[in-house]
């Protein structure tokens, strides 16, 4: 390292500077002593100094030239050294192998009319037991704790814990994933967010709006996750084309009480590309089949009523479009997304045959108009089957002739990539005939390293 060209040059310059400095000093002293020196002498001295200066500068230039040349030949050796150096210092600390840890904090203030009996219900849909509008007033939302690391050369692992406002801890995700399968294959196992739809595999803090769109609430209980395995294959094409299949335990909504522990499966395909430099898009088609062996509506009724037994077949079509001038989203950008859900449920509700075809969709757009500021609009609606078995009139599956729908407006301020404050207003008519004005102010921050976001 001591013979690195930089050091050699530095040493030479230092030496030359000394000689030059000494020369100037000597000349100065000489000039001071002979105060009576002639004008011609002074001129001669000045010429001498100028000559030395020119000589010095040409020498420096020559050295610089030599340095550049030396570097050209030394590059190969230096690169090997440089590549090895950082690795050596990093391995000193055993803690370097600790998983990457990050924390997501959420909280804020909500204002809305509380639903009767403290529980919201969408007529015509057997929503997930835990469906609620959340807490009124000040409250924290789920705090997330995420650990991730490569296990070895073959596998990576990730654990995501969520702690809710009632201090309950939930294992949101705990999975292993392959790193190096050939042929574009990736396998995943454990508990994870299903790859169906577009929004489903994004963590709640990555959603553009504070809450999930109505079809996600009604058909998937906000988000579908379960214990199981996933296989994905990325096709070797210039256009993005990915196929996937999943097999799940099947205990989570819309499934329930799976007896054999493999009660649900899904398949999906995602595809997408760029349109010029400024736009890009991604589409998807997904299918999820679940079995419910006695799924009840939860909390308010302890007797054996309001129980659904049967199958749910859900199809989802998704489309996302992003735009930014020249593909540079830092100043302005636009994101439009929409998904259509179609569900066929076959089975019985409290013993009455209940075969139904339901659907729902949402469309949303978020525009960043200046750095750090975004505004968004969303419309979501559901349509429950109206031609139901007359025996179901008056039950939870009776849509009461209404259309659950909601309109939302959003204003977001980002303190940085890692912090944001959102204000969202929703005119919520999902309970049909009981419109609710919901205002939420929420902060979301990320502490520590955060994984790169997907599309």
């Amino acid at each position: 390292m001591l013979y690195h060209p930089l050091f050699v040059l530095g040493g030479l310059m230092l030496r030359h500077r000394k000689i030059y400095g000494a020369a100037v000093l000597a000349v100065g002293m000489f000039a001071a002593q002979s105060a009576i020196a002639q004008e011609s002498d002074m001129a001669a001295i000045r010429r001498q100094v100028e000559a030395m200066k020119a000589d010095y500068e040409s020498k420096i230039r020559e050295l610089e030239r030599r340095l550049v040349k030396t570097e050209a030949t030394a590059t190969q050796a230096a690169t090997t050294a440089a590549k090895n150096a950082p690795a050596a210092s990093e391995t000193k600390n055993a803690n370097s192998f600790n998983p990457q840890v990050s924390v997501v904090l959420n909280g804020g203030y909500s204002h809305f009319q509380d639903a009767p009996a403290g529980r919201a219900r969408i007529p015509g849909f057997v929503s997930a037991p835990e469906y609620s509008l959340g807490n009124r007033g000040f409250s924290i939302a789920e705090s997330e704790l995420q650990f991730k690391a490569n296990v070895d050369q073959v596998l990576a692992g990730q654990l995501t814990l969520a702690v809710d406002a009632a201090n309950e801890v939930e294992v949101e995700e705990a999975f292993i994933e392959t790193l190096a399968l050939p042929l574009g294959l990736t396998a995943k196992g454990g508990r994870f967010l299903s790859g169906i739809g577009y929004l489903n595999q994004k963590h709640a803090h990555e959603w553009e709006f504070i809450d999930a769109p109505l079809p996600y609430v009604a058909f998937l209980g906000n988000q579908y996750r379960d214990d199981g395995v996933q296989m994905r294959w990325l096709a070797p094409t210039d256009m993005f084309l990915e196929f996937g299949g999943e097999l799940f335990r099947g205990n989570n909504f819309p499934g329930a009480n799976s007896s054999h522990g493999k009660g649900a499966y899904s398949t999906f395909v995602h595809f997408g590309d760029d349109i010029g430099a400024s736009s890009s898009w991604q589409g998807g088609l997904s299918y999820l089949r679940t079995e419910a062996r006695g799924r009840d509506l939860g909390s308010s009724n302890d007797d054996n009523s309001e129980v659904f037994r049967g199958f749910s077949n859900l199809g989802i079509a998704s489309l996302v479009y992003k735009w930014a001038p020249d593909g540079n989203p830092t100043e302005r950008n636009l994101k439009l997304s929409g998904e259509y859900f179609y569900q066929r449920e076959t089975g019985s509700f409290d013993g009455t045959p209940a075969d139904r075809d339901n659907d729902g969709w949402y469309l949303q757009g978020v525009y960043q108009f200046i750095p750090q500021w975004k505004a968004g609009l969303r419309y979501d609606r559901l349509a429950a089957d109206e031609s139901i078995n007359p025996g179901l009139a008056g039950t939870a599956l009776d849509s009461r002739g209404g259309t659950p729908q909601r309109g939302s407006a959003l204003l977001e301020y980002d303190t940085s990539e890692f912090g944001r404050i959102r204000l969202q207003y929703s005119r919520d008519d999902s309970m049909v005939g009981e419109p609710n004005n919901i205002v939420r102010l929420q902060y979301t921050v990320i502490l520590g390293p955060h994984a790169a976001h997907g599309y």
Partner: protein, 306 residues
């Protein structure tokens, strides 16, 4: 029937084998400067896909479907590293399901590993703005760094695609000869810039300033990556009035407003620099990048003459 079968099998095999006429070695370059460097070193022996343009900020890129599809096919990625691409590249790598380009694989080439890093922070705190633990990642603004990286890149190419090893070696030798001469030419031309105070919009010029011995007098961002408020800009204006820099510079992908505001207030010339290949019409390749950068500096120096 039998011929149809044979035809089908043959077609499938041909599809799997790929088209032999196309360049076989595929490289995914994260930034245009590395795309241009690969062109210099690999010529037509490799096909290059450049993931970003000079109009984009390499910190803030969407992990778009097209990037994932291209990364799937790549034999090698050439990126800056030092966390420059931390916001999107890991997502692309993971989804690409391509073992050749995962971190630690020989096909995962990070340019910043081969140069001496500047601005390495003494403490790591996000309250200091967009800081990188490894140091300032914009290493391509010093041509001497490019030369070091070219050496490492050539060795990696030879390692991964040995059948064209001699060709890569030959091209590297040719590139170094031309590059060395160009560096000399640039240094001579840039001599009047020595020691000049220059204001920057964002702190992404450390390597260029170290090379040309320029002095960063003030930054228009209060902290790296934090957009300046009107109040902060007013503060900068008063600072600039008391000790005026010769010019204020910004990269092609950055918003012109802050530096133009400073120009309107203080008459200090605002200069847009290419920052990478393709940033200006003149910066068509790596040589043009530095030709144009220095030409723009010198032109501003003339305008700003007292």
């Amino acid at each position: 029937m039998k011929t149809a079968h044979i035809f089908l099998v043959a077609a499938t095999l041909w599809c799997l084998a790929g088209d032999p006429a196309r360049a076989e070695f595929k490289i995914f370059a994260c930034e245009p400067e590395w795309g241009s460097l690969i062109d210099e070193l690999a010529g037509d022996k490799a096909s290059v896909y450049v993931a970003t343009t000079a109009q984009q900020d390499p910190h803030h890129i969407d992990a778009r479907p097209s990037l994932i599809a291209r990364a799937r096919a790549a034999d090698m990625t050439v990126c800056t590293g030092a966390e420059l691409e931390a916001g999107w590249l890991p997502a692309v790598q993971r989804q690409s399901a391509n073992p050749k380009i995962q971190p630690g694989a020989p096909g995962n080439f990070e340019a910043a590993a081969y140069v001496r890093m500047l601005d390495v922070p003494a403490r790591l705190d996000r309250a200091d703005g967009d800081v990188h633990a490894a140091g300032n990642p914009h290493v391509q603004t010093d041509p001497r760094n490019i030369q070091r990286i070219a050496g490492a890149l050539a060795s990696t190419l030879i390692l991964l695609d040995p059948s064209n090893g001699a060709y890569y070696e030959e091209r590297h030798r040719g590139f170094v000869a031309r590059w060395t001469a160009a560096i000399e030419r640039w240094q001579t031309a840039a001599a009047p810039l020595r020691g000049q105070p220059v204001a920057v919009q964002h702190k992404n010029w450390a390597y260029l300033f170290a090379w040309l011995d320029l002095r960063e007098s003030v930054a228009l961002e209060p902290k790296p990556g934090v957009p300046p408020s009107a109040g902060y800009l007013a503060e900068v204006v008063s600072k600039v009035r008391s000790a005026p820099p010769r010019m204020v510079i910004r990269a092609a992908h950055e918003n012109a407003r802050p530096s133009e505001f400073l120009t309107a207030q203080t008459k200090i010339p605002a200069v847009m620099l290419p920052f990478t290949v393709g940033g200006t019409p003149g910066a068509a390749n790596l040589f043009g990048l530095f030709d144009d950068t220095i030409a723009r500096f010198l032109a501003a120096l003339d305008v700003g003459k007292p």
